[in-house]
């Protein structure tokens, strides 16, 4: 049996070694995508373009504006009229506008509700929501400091006898809320999925298209042996891809890895099996490379969207959430982020690992059965 499998494995590796273009496709797009995702994909909000209209010109209003300027979250520009503010928001040159009306300081000193008018461009709701959160927290800080100051001056009380409940933020696993730590490890799953499914599907469809598949079938090799021989090299390549992405994530993007590398390795192996089976399945559904290509596109897109790679599963409609349970990428991402950032081990990740094992088993059986049938 091994005598028949090994030549196939060797043949695949030789093919890969002689195909410069294939090697290029394995490494360069991976690196380019990592750089793009690492630098471009972020929901973080810094330097929000902000326009301020201060009609009060008081010490208080200037103090308030300077809090925005020095927060590092807002890039403050000054407007001279209401019309200018409206225009800036309309033309998207400012995403946030702060308007302080005349009489702001007078109201503050009297202790009456002094209004700070905030206009937010809601076009990008996510940025708007986060920016609004920052505006509120700066305003809250200003109001509290001013109130305690006022109380100290007018009532002669030191400090405050104000009743106040504060909420302390404790972000675990990613204390700076760094978006890169979320996206970059996730790429291990998405990139290997594309590469492995593509490689497997194309390798087999190509043999079929060129006609070499028939030649192999008249040789004494059995279908199962052929499949093993075909997929072992891709499994090795997949592990190589995982290693490459992990290395770039840790060394270039400085994403911490606090968990057990063997848990990640085990999860990766299970995930690669599912990916290989998926590629094999696609290859049985297509007779030309062109078909394999559109099929890949059709099938892989839902895998990304419904995985939690960039969009939280909890926000999806219930029906789509059910679909995510069939998606091996969903579980793999939990394993990746669990080992990278949370440092949890088998005791926490066993449900995900068993789900991946089950999916891999079902996919492999189906694809091998279908593949054997497609040869007859």
């Amino acid at each position: 049996m091994f005598a028949r499998i090994i030549p196939i494995v060797v043949k695949e590796f030789i093919e890969l070694k002689r195909d410069k273009w294939a090697r290029f496709r394995l490494i360069v797009p991976t690196l380019v995508q990592m750089l793009l995702f690492g630098y471009a994909a972020t929901y973080e909000v810094y330097h929000v373009s902000t326009i301020v209209l201060d009609l009060d010109h008081s010490q208080e209003s200037r103090e308030l504006v300077s809090r925005f300027t020095f927060s590092g979250r807002f890039n403050v520009a000054v407007a001279r009229s209401q019309a200018e503010v409206t225009k800036a928001i309309d033309a998207s040159s400012a995403a946030v506008a702060l308007v302080i009306h005349a009489g702001f300081a007078a109201l503050l000193r009297k202790g009456q509700d002094a209004p700070l008018q905030v206009i937010v461009d809601g076009t990008n709701s996510n940025t708007a929501l986060i920016a609004l959160g920052y505006v509120n927290s700066i305003a809250r800080g200003f109001a509290q400091d001013y109130a305690s100051n006022l109380a100290g001056r007018t009532l002669g009380v030191r400090g405050t006898k104000q009743i106040q409940v504060t909420l302390e933020q404790r972000p675990w696993f990613n204390p700076d809320l760094n978006g890169r730590w979320f996206f970059v490890p996730g790429l291990i799953g998405t990139l290997t999925l594309v590469i492995i499914v593509n490689l497997t599907a194309f390798a087999i469809v190509r043999e079929r298209e060129v006609g070499t598949l028939e030649q192999i079938m008249v040789s004494p090799i059995r279908p199962a042996e052929f499949i093993v021989g075909k997929t072992v090299p891709f499994f090795v390549i997949g592990l190589g891809e995982v290693a490459l992405i992990v290395a770039v994530a840790m060394l270039w993007f400085q994403v911490p890895f606090v968990g057990n590398p063997f848990v990640l390795l085990f999860g990766s192996a299970l995930f690669l099996l599912s990916s290989l089976a998926l590629g094999l399945l696609i290859s049985t559904l297509c007779s030309t490379q062109q078909q394999a290509f559109s099929m890949n596109f059709f099938i892989l897109n839902p895998f990304f969207i419904l995985s939690g790679f960039s969009f939280p599963i909890a926000s999806m409609p219930q029906v789509l959430q059910w679909f995510t349970y069939l998606n091996p990428l969903r579980y793999y991402l939990v394993v990746i982020r669990g080992t990278f950032l949370k440092g949890v081990g088998l005791s926490v990740l066993w449900p995900e690992l068993s789900a991946m094992a089950a999916i891999a088993a079902v996919l492999l059986t189906t694809s091998i059965l279908r593949f054997r049938k497609s040869l007859e």
């Binding site: 471009a40 972020t42 929901y43 330097h47 373009s49 928001i89 309309d90 033309a91 995403a95 503050l108 509700d113 209004p115 206009i119 937010v120 076009t123 990008n124 709701s125 996510n126 929501l129 986060i130 609004l132 959160g133 509120n136 927290s137 305003a139 200003f142 109001a143 109130a147 405050t160 006898k161 104000q162 009743i163 106040q164 409940v165 504060t166 909420l167 933020q169 404790r170 972000p171 696993f173 990613n174 809320l177 490379q289 062109q290 290509f293 559109s294 596109f297 839902p302 969207i305 419904l306 960039s310 939280p312 909890a314 926000s315 999806m316 789509l320 939990v334 982020r337 949370k342 926490v348």
Partner: protein, 378 residues
């Protein structure tokens, strides 16, 4: 350039599309399925985030606060922990995204010191969700804090002192309810059209090479520019159909408000289609195998359009170098046009800058494509 020859190519291309119902189905089905998949799957709104509570005091005051978390649609309390280890486990295994921990001396501190802290432990592996969840949680705690102060003051018989010397009156323009769907779906239209459009034309010339009909084509008197226009025109019609499917789904099915004029939408969409189709055609001319051409077309459209067009990740938050690169991504212009047309109702004059960029892009790509095609067989 002779119109007769242009028409001949166009008619041939139409027949070829029409008589290949499978490809035609894919061309019309793809935008439909992708719109539905992305439209439902892509969502950044925070709703029903599973929350774990750890009330170490168990007093009236602390329970009042936790009830407020349950009352909003943003949070859903799924676990009431009895020990800190339970909290840790709930966050570790991803069962909860947020844990609210109330200290055992909560009421005491509030009465004696006036201030009492509450802890929000966030699973920050998803930094965006964590950030938004904290914003909502802070707003809930602030509302609670104000109410507690009012009752406290009343009980003390003091006149209600000024609690909030300043109020923030925030108003959101263009997307008043801050629904992520309203900004994602118009961008999605642009993304799907970029993908499908380039795929449509990426096969036209490489197919002639693979099927051997290029020899025939070269022996005819057709000129490169006539060939290009003749090949693009039928796909422009197909592209209009795809665009109509996407836009109608966006406005009617997903209910994204459309505030611009239909004329502006038609002009800009046609312009964008011309850019996209020409890019597919250029790939087809440059690469002679069908698989190669459509793969490269996917590579040059998909990745830049998803990441660098501003369709979901805001461009002004990217590093300066990447911001510079985005000017080369043609989808960037159409994404901003569609968003502005849908949500802001901008006029053609207000959109003149991105339109100008698209015009420049379209002419450059068409010029390149027309020049790249040579009537030679080597």
């Amino acid at each position: 350039m002779k119109f007769r020859r242009l028409k001949a190519i166009g008619v041939k291309e139409i027949l070829q599309v029409w008589r290949d119902p499978r490809s035609l189905m894919i061309a019309l089905l793809l935008p439909f399925t992708q719109m539905l998949l992305f439209g439902y799957g892509v969502n950044l709104d925070l709703k029903h985030l599973p929350v774990c509570t750890f009330d170490r005091e168990g007093s009236q005051l602390s329970q009042d606060l936790l009830k407020r978390f349950q009352a909003t649609q943003y949070f859903n309390i799924v676990h009431n922990a009895k020990t800190y280890a339970e909290v840790k486990a709930a966050i570790d295994d991803g069962q909860c995204g947020l844990a609210i921990v109330i200290p055992s001396d909560f009421s005491e501190r509030l009465n004696d010191l006036g201030t009492a802290p509450v802890q929000a432990i966030l699973d920050a592996t998803d930094d965006n969700t964590a950030n938004i969840a904290f914003g909502y949680a802070a707003a809930i705690v602030e509302g609670y804090s104000n109410d507690v102060e009012v009752t406290w003051m009343n009980r003390q018989g003091k006149a209600l002192q000024q609690i909030q010397p300043m109020v923030v009156q925030s108003r959101v323009w263009f997307n008043e309810d801050l629904e992520s769907r309203n900004f994602i779906i118009p961008g999605l239209v642009a993304m799907i059209m970029a993908l499908v459009g380039a795929q449509l034309t990426s096969l036209t010339i490489s197919r002639e090479w693979e099927r051997g009909t290029m020899e025939l084509l070269v022996s005819t008197p057709v000129k490169p520019i006539e060939l290009m226009l003749g090949k693009l025109a039928p796909y422009l019609v197909l592209g209009w159909l795809d665009a109509a499917i996407c836009l109608v789904l966006a406005a009617l099915w997903f209910g994204v408000p459309y505030r611009g004029t239909l004329f502006a939408l038609f002009v800009t969409t046609s312009l964008f289609l011309i850019v996209v189709l020409s890019i597919g055609y250029l790939m087809s001319v440059l690469i002679r195998s069908q698989v190669g051409a459509s793969q490269i077309a996917l590579l040059v459209t998909m990745l830049p359009t998803t990441l660098l067009s501003g369709y979901i990740f805001p461009i002004d938050q990217m590093p300066k170098v990447i911001q510079g690169i985005t000017y080369l991504v043609y989808s960037r212009y159409y994404v901003s046009i569609v968003k502005d047309l849908f949500l802001k109702g901008s006029s053609l004059a207000e959109l003149s800058t991105p339109i100008l960029f698209l015009v420049v892009y379209a002419s450059a790509v068409m010029l390149l494509a027309a020049r790249a095609f040579r009537k030679r067989l080597d």
